[in-house]
Each structure stands twice: as structure tokens, then as C-alpha cells.
């Protein structure tokens, strides 16, 4: 929350004279050894004598010496506003903790604490806390503590416990030095005695002095020839006011104060107020970027604001951004209900794509969300074609190339591990490249799970609609729907709807349709109505090709002897083969050995028991297995292991 300190206000730019020497020494000490001496440091002076300059300089110097120090500068009014806002929001404690890590606290315009008893109590608490932690506290006011109306005695004594120091109006020499320095800064030269003449005027404060200087500079800029002492006096009307001493009675002047450049002062203060706002906005944006970026949201929109010279309107930009994020969160929640996997889509993390997110939700709501697609790596290119599977592969290719839907449905039958799933996905991938294609390709287990999920969420219509607008429907391992009448019923209606509108249907099954147990007759006859192709068990040739490819992909190397050995294994399943190669890869990585026949033998022998125990694997091909399907028994999930007692009772029944 630290406000940026005005860089113009440093000790280097502060003119030191007898009137402010003590204050400056104390300020320097406080800046160079914060919290050690003069704590709290209370600086007071009439307006325009450099209080703000001095306390800002303390912050700047402290930070220059120890950049890790946290310095907070704020006016009392900002303190009050922040306190009230925190109390109103019920975050009083958060407000307090805001200052717990601050090393140097600079509070300006403390006189406004007058009569504000609550604020005084909070200020007292804050200062006591900071002093106890040996943090430096510096306060500036336009009057000494005793003169602040109704100031709590405890605060007065606390201030007195540090150092209370005043800045008096500059005397002639300091005025002259200030005028010279400012004229220098502005790059203006005056005749020797001109500035001295101005300095003779007993300006009440530095602002007034600078106002006079500004008028001289403006006059000299538009007039040829240097300004004379008399000219300057006339211009500033100093003859009339030099001797004039404005007395005040009860704080009210009886006569008109000298006409200093009040408008220039006003411009100055408006300028710095606006500059403060700009700094505050920049800070606000940075904090927001950090916050939302940390929560995984894209913050480009806010970052762009930071590159602008003056990010005005940041607060509303941040609010608009936050509103959009909130909207996105709501959309993501909707999507999680409608289609859980898509709730993680990046569009729900990018407030600039809120329209896309809305469209996606709308799409999901209308059931138009894309159905599950094929695995992209299972293509015809990577499929090993042999004499044994040529009929099946040719038929599969025909389905993808011939738009007249020659075989509908195409049923790919065969035992486990012969490449049914691969072929099915290859067909799906080939169909998916057609223009406007919407290809639904999934395992029967996933189909079943989604159906149950849709039932549970009461979103059956949506689930159906999603499938019904598919241009092709491919279902792997249809035998897994055995004895699942609900799913079969759904599939039956879907089959009819799609087939009637000429959409391609492809199924894989563990055997020809009429051999499938537990599948409804009406489905069986429909499956038989197209083309049923059988894939034979993978022969040695196929297994060699697959073994070589897998070894290459997983290990980046191959070995003829190992390939031959793996292809000769008695289990014809390609799944088993791939599994063995996976283990081989793990073993190689663990042992650091090179690929060798001996190692392959060791892995295969070690796995012999597993390899010869096909029942250990699911009957599904496993490519698009739902995560639920692979852990159907709770015993496989360690954290849900049944209590042994429950198990005994179960067994006893």
C-alpha cells in the first residue's frame, strides 16, 4: 500500500537555514537510523514551510540507504478514510495489520485529528504499536500538539516522548538561497540584487516566495533586457507591502493579505493530487495483476493499462475486470455442471474471451458441445496391415473414403489385443478431417458412464442431443454393454436416429454380433445388418512391426534379437506386447543398462506370471477407458479399502 514518494522532495533539494536547521538534523537522523532516536518525530510549521518536503525526504533517504525498508507515507485524511472504509467493511483488523510490517510511517497533516476522538484512539494504538516494535514514526502538523484541539493527552505525551520540532519562516538569507536555487533550477538569471530585493520581502512561507519568483520569471521571459531591482519591486508591488505586517486577531486578518500567486499554488496542489491518484491507480492495477495472475487468470487487459502513461480510470477497469472474472467463474461453474471436462478450458480463464466462454456454455446447454473424439495418435498410418487383417482394413478405409456409406454399420470383431481399437480410432480420425465433421468416438464403458452421469444430473436430453448431431458415431468394445439394458436402449435409439439420417456407425466387439452375450437381439440384428469384419490374432509379423515401433518410440533404439524374441512370445495380444515393452523401458531407465536380449528375457520372465494371467486385465481395450471403469472395485483404491470386519461379515452372509 506504500504510496510513491514525490521524487522532487529530497534532502538535497531542501534549503537549510537557521529557521529549519534543527528540524532537518532530526529528520536526517530519523532517516539514517529509523526507530533509534527521535521516535516519534513531530514536525510542525505554518503552511508552506516544507513539512511535507521534509517528511517525504525522510522516507526517500531511509529507502535510499536500505531499499528493503517499507516506508508508508499518508495524510491523516487518507488514514481516516482507510480506517473508516476498513471498519465499514468489517476489516478493522486487516487495517491494523497493514502497518505491522512497515518500518517507517510518515503521517502528514496530523492537525486534522483535532476533535476526531475515534481516529485519535486508533492513531494512539498504531503509534504505540509501532514504537514498541522500534519502527520510525514521523508526523507533520501545522501546529504543535498542544494546539491541536481536543487532542488526547496520551497522544500529546507520546509525541512529547520523541522530539517535537518546528520549522520557522525562512529568514532573509534562507529566502535568498531558496530564490537562487529555484531560479537556477528554472535556468533563469537575474541581476544580482533582484533576488535580494525579493528576499527582503518577509514572505510568510516558501510557496509565497516561489509565487513571487514565478512572476519575475514570467515577466523576464516576455521582456527584453534584464529586470532591475526597481522593476522587480514595482512588478511585485513590494513597496506597498514591505513594511506591512499583517496582524491577526483570533486567526482572522483584518486586512487583505498580499496578493501572492494563489492560483499557481492551487495549480500545484491540484497537480500533485492528480499525480497521487495516478500513482495509486498504477499500484492498484499491479496488485490486481499479481492477484489474478496467481489464480491462473489471464491479465493482459490490465497489463496493457500499465503501459499507458497515465492509467486513469484504473479502479473501474479493475472492477470491470473482476466482474468479468466473476462472470467467467459462474460460466465455468455452469460448464462444470453441463460438461465437467470442458470447465477447465482456457476460455474460462481469459476475461478477454468471455464471449467464447459464453458461447461454449450455450453450446453445452444446447447439447451442441462436441462429443468425445478419437485418440489422435491411432491412425491408419500407424496401423500394421497384413494379409490377415487386409479385408478389415480395406473395409475400414472404404468407410472413410466412400461418402455413400457403403457399410453401415461396420463392426470390427476380434479377441482382445488384435488392434480393434486402433482400427476404430483410425476410421474416426479419417472421418474427422471431413469438412463439418462431428465424430463421436468412445469406448462403450465411457458411453455407459456418461449415460449414468446424465441420468444422475437430469441432463439426459442434452447428452442425447450431443450424440445425435454427430456425423459419425464409433463405439469401442460394445460387448461391455452386456446386460446393461438402459444403455442398450439408448444405443438402440441412437443407432436408429443416426442410421436413418445416413450417418456412419462403427463398432468394435469381442466377437461377431451373434456371439455376444447379454446384448439385446434388436441391437444384434442391427449390427449384423452392415458389414462384420474379423481381425485375426496378431501374427508374428504384426507383432514384430509393433514391437520395433514401440521400442523405437519409447527407447529411441531397437534390437533385432529383442524384436524377434518379443514377437515369439506365446501371448498373441498386442496389449501384452506393449505392456512388456513399457516394463522394459522402465527397467532400462532404472538400471541404466543398454537394450539387450538378456534384459528383455529378464523382464518377460519376471512378468511371466502376469503375462499368463490375462484375467488381470480389463476386457476393454483400455484406450478410451473411463477413469471410473478402471477402478470399479473399491479395493483397488487404497484410500477406500474396506474395513476387514465389514469384509468378514460380507463373506459370512
Amino acid at each position: 500500500m506504500t504510496r510513491t514518494l514525490n521524487p522532487r522532495f529530497s534532502f538535497d533539494t531542501f534549503v537549510v537555514g537557521p529557521a529549519n536547521q534543527l528540524a532537518v538534523s532530526a529528520a536526517r537522523t530519523a532517516a539514517e537510523n529509523p526507530g533509534v532516536s527521535y521516535n516519534p518525530l513531530f514536525i510542525y510549521s505554518a503552511s508552506g514551510l516544507g513539512k511535507t518536503h521534509l517528511i517525504t525526504a525522510i522516507g526517500a533517504r531511509a529507502r535510499e540507504l536500505a531499499p528493503e525498508l517499507r516506508v508508508e507515507y499518508l495524510t491523516l485524511e487518507e488514514f481516516v478514510d482507510a480506517y473508516h472504509a476498513a471498519v465499514a467493511a468489517g476489516h478493522g483488523e486487516a487495517f491494523r495489520s497493514r502497518f505491522t510490517d512497515v518500518d517507517v510511517v510518515l503521517i502528514d497533516d496530523v492537525q486534522f485529528v483535532a476533535q476526531r476522538l475515534e481516529t485519535q484512539a486508533e492513531l494512539l494504538r498504531l503509534i504505540s504499536h509501532l514504537l514498541a516494535q522500534a519502527r520510525q514514526v514521523v508526523l507533520a502538523s501545522d501546529r504543535p500538539p498542544r494546539d491541536i484541539e481536543q487532542l488526547d493527552e496520551r497522544l500529546i505525551s507520546q509525541f512529547a516522548g520523541g522530539l517535537v520540532v518546528d520549522i520557522a519562516a525562512p529568514e532573509f538569507e534562507s529566502r535568498l538561497a531558496i530564490l537562487r536555487r529555484k531560479a537556477d533550477e528554472r535556468g533563469v538569471d537575474f541581476e544580482g540584487a533582484v533576488l535580494a530585493a525579493v528576499a527582503e520581502y518577509n514572505a510568510r512561507n516558501v510557496r509565497e516566495l516561489l509565487g513571487l519568483l514565478n512572476r519575475l520569471i514570467a515577466f523576464q521571459a516576455v521582456n527584453e533586457g534584464a529586470l532591475t531591482v526597481e522593476g522587480a519591486r514595482t512588478l511585485l508591488g513590494l513597496e506597498s507591502v514591505l513594511q506591512e505586517d499583517v496582524e491577526t486577531e483570533e486567526g482572522v486578518p483584518e486586512t487583505v493579505p498580499p496578493a501572492v500567486d494563489e492560483f499557481a499554488d492551487f495549480l500545484d496542489s491540484v497537480g500533485s493530487a492528480l499525480a497521487r491518484q495516478v500513482d495509486a491507480w498504477r499500484k492498484r492495477i499491479e496488485e490486481s495483476v499479481e492477484y489474478w495472475d496467481g489464480r491462473g487468470y489471464r491479465t493482459k487487459r490490465l497489463e496493457r493499462l500499465l503501459t499507458e502513461e497515465t492509467p486513469l480510470g484504473a479502479e473501474q477497469a479493475v472492477r470491470a475486470y473482476e466482474a468479468d472474472v466473476e462472470h467467467l467463474q459462474a460460466l465455468a461453474a455452469d460448464m462444470a455442471e453441463l460438461d465437467p471436462p470442458r470447465a477447465g478450458d482456457p476460455v474460462f480463464r481469459d476475461p478477454e474471451r468471455i464471449d467464447d466462454a459464453e458461447a461454449a456454455v450455450q453450446e453445452a446447454r444446447e447439447g451442441a458441445g462436441p462429443p468425445p473424439g478419437p485418440a489422435p495418435h491411432l491412425t491408419f498410418e500407424s496401423y500394421v496391415e497384413t494379409a490377415g487383417n487386409r479385408v478389415a482394413v480395406t473395409a475400414a478405409r472404404a468407410v472413410t473414403t466412400d461418402t455413400s456409406v457403403p457399410y453401415n454399420p461396420l463392426v470390427i470383431a476380434g479377441p482382445n489385443g488384435v488392434g480393434k481399437t486402433h482400427l476404430l480410432h483410425a476410421v474416426a480420425n479419417a472421418l474427422a478431417v471431413r469438412p463439418e465433421a462431428v465424430v463421436a468416438c468412445q469406448s462403450a464403458q465411457a458411453f455407459l458412464d456418461q449415460y449414468v452421469d446424465a441420468l444422475e444430473r437430469n441432463r439426459l436430453e442434452m447428452w442425447r442431443a450431443r450424440h445425435r448431431h454427430a456425423t459419425a458415431f464409433l463405439l469401442d468394445d460394445i460387448h461391455l454393454l452386456s446386460l446393461k439394458p438402459g444403455s442398450q436402449e439408448e444405443l438402440f435409439h441412437l443407432f436408429n436416429a443416426l442410421a436413418d439420417s445416413g450417418r456412419q456407425l462403427v463398432f468394435s466387439a469381442s466377437g461377431p454380433p451373434d456371439t455376444l452375450d447379454g446384448i439385446d437381439e434388436r441391437l444384434v440384428t442391427r449390427l449384423q445388418g452392415g458389414l462384420v469384419v474379423e481381425l485375426p490374432a496378431a501374427n508374428r509379423e504384426v507383432r514384430s512391426v509393433v514391437a520395433r515401433r514401440e521400442l523405437n518410440e519409447r527407447l529411441g533404439t531397437t534390437d533385432d534379437a529383442v524384436v524377434a524374441y518379443l514377437a515369439e512370445q506365446p501371448d498373441p495380444s498386442l496389449h501384452t506386447l506393449v505392456e512388456v515393452i513399457q516394463r522394459l523401458a522402465q527397467e532400462l531407465e532404472a538400471s541404466g543398462e543398454d537394450l539387450s536380449l538378456a534384459l528383455a528375457r529378464r523382464v518377460v520372465d519376471g512378468d511371466a506370471a502376469a503375462v499368463t494371467r490375462p484375467a488381470r486385465r480389463s476386457r476393454s481395450s483400455g484406450v478410451v477407458m473411463s477413469p471410473l471403469a478402471s477402478v470399479r472395485s473399491p479395493e483397488k483404491v487404497v484410500w477406500r479399502w474396506p474395513h476387514v470386519g465389514d469384509r468378514l461379515i460380507e463373506d459370512m452372509r
Binding site: 485524511e77 486534522f112 476533535q115 476526531r116 484541539e149 483570533e250 486567526g251 482572522v252 486578518p253 483584518e254 486586512t255 487583505v256 493579505p257 496578493a259 500567486d261 494563489e262 492560483f263 499554488d265 492551487f266 495549480l267 496542489s269 491540484v270 497537480g271 493530487a273 492528480l274 499525480a275 491518484q277 495516478v278 495509486a280 491507480w281 492498484r284 502513461e309 497515465t310 486513469l312 480510470g313 484504473a314 479502479e315 473501474q316
Partner: protein
């Protein structure tokens, strides 16, 4: 509110001087007018009756030049203080970004001050603005009058400033406290900028 125009990078702040009749609102503007260099001020528009009472309103546009990259303009308005010009007051108050309430420090004017303050609150509320949210500054004018005729700042604070907004003792005829008032209201209005909605 029409504070910030992002396209043209302009800030325009409308500040309304409100208060009972004869409290010195027009004098405030006249003094400011006199202190602003000619190139920075527009023509001051005053619609006054023959007896110099404000009939409609005073309007003083100020060009503050480019501040932090924004062309900044302040428009100062006064309202007619007399009770029967309430419709005009409502009109002038529309779209105000900040209000300076100029109170008359004379003891006999206390009721008028309170009544005008209540009128301000009611007129703001009619526009859907809560007096607690709009930048507001009080000015206790005529502090130069003999002390037996006026209430001191502390008393006026007690009577009028129950919202604890910034308040300034002032003497509009000699210009005391006027720029302090203007500075305070400007700072509060600008501080509100960060919460403002774009035009």
C-alpha cells in the same frame, strides 16, 4: 458524472458553491476570478438582479492546463441562495462532482445555514446522490465580522459539520480561506476520480 473523457483525455470537474442567500458564494467566485490569469479563465457569467442577488447562477470556467497528461477543466457554479429558487438550485446541482457549502458565520443566520444544508441534502437525494458520498467541503464565511456578531469556527463546526468534512474559516471579501476551500474540494473530487465511471 462527466468527470473523465478517456478518448480526448480530458477531465472536467463541476463544483457547485451552495449555501443560503447572501452567504458569499458569488464573492467566492469573483475573488477566484480575480486571481486567475486571463488565459486560464473563461468569461464569468453572472445573472444577477438589480440588487446584485444571484437570479439564476454564476458560472466560472477554469482551464488548469495539462495535468498528468489530461487537459483539466474546472467549472465553478453558484446557486441562488434564496429559498424560492429551489428549481434553479436543483438544475445547477445536476451532475455536480463536488459541493462547497458556504455558510454565513453570523449568529442570526444559523437557521438559514441549517435550512440550506438540509435543502442541499434533499436536492441531492432527489438526484439519487447520498450527501455522504459526494465530495463536500464547508466554508464558514464572514469570519472578518466583529466577533460578537458571528459564531466562531468551533461553534459552527458543532452546529453544521456533523459529517466531519473539511471546513475552513473564510472571509470572502478579503479572499481569506477561499483558495484553501477550492483546493480542498478539488483534491476530494480528484480523489473520487478513481471511482468514477467514464462518460
Amino acid at each position: 458524472m462527466s468527470l473523465v473523457n478517456f478518448t480526448s483525455r480530458e477531465i472536467t470537474c463541476k463544483i457547485v458553491y451552495y449555501g443560503p442567500g447572501r452567504s458569499g458564494k458569488t464573492t467566492n467566485l469573483q475573488y477566484i476570478y480575480g486571481r486567475v490569469p486571463e488565459d486560464r479563465r473563461g468569461r464569468m457569467v453572472s445573472l444577477a438582479t438589480q440588487t446584485d442577488r444571484t437570479l439564476f447562477f454564476d458560472f466560472l470556467p477554469l482551464e488548469l492546463g495539462s495535468i498528468s497528461g489530461f487537459t483539466t477543466r474546472f467549472q465553478l457554479y453558484t446557486v441562488p441562495g434564496q429559498v424560492y429558487y429551489n428549481a434553479t438550485r436543483k438544475l445547477v446541482l445536476q451532475g455536480a462532482d463536488g459541493v462547497v457549502f458556504v455558510a454565513d458565520s453570523q449568529i442570526r443566520q444559523l437557521d438559514e445555514n441549517i435550512e440550506s444544508l438540509q435543502n442541499l441534502q434533499a436536492n441531492l437525494l432527489e438526484q439519487g446522490i447520498d450527501v455522504r458520498t459526494i465530495p463536500l467541503v464547508l466554508q464558514y464565511n464572514k469570519q472578518d465580522l466583529p466577533s460578537d456578531l458571528i459564531l466562531q469556527v468551533a461553534d459552527l463546526e458543532e452546529q453544521l459539520n456533523f459529517r466531519m468534512v473539511p471546513a475552513f474559516g473564510a472571509s470572502a471579501v478579503v479572499g481569506k480561506g477561499l483558495f484553501e476551500t477550492l483546493r480542498a474540494i478539488s483534491e476530494r473530487v480528484l480523489r473520487k476520480l478513481s471511482e468514477a465511471q467514464p462518460a
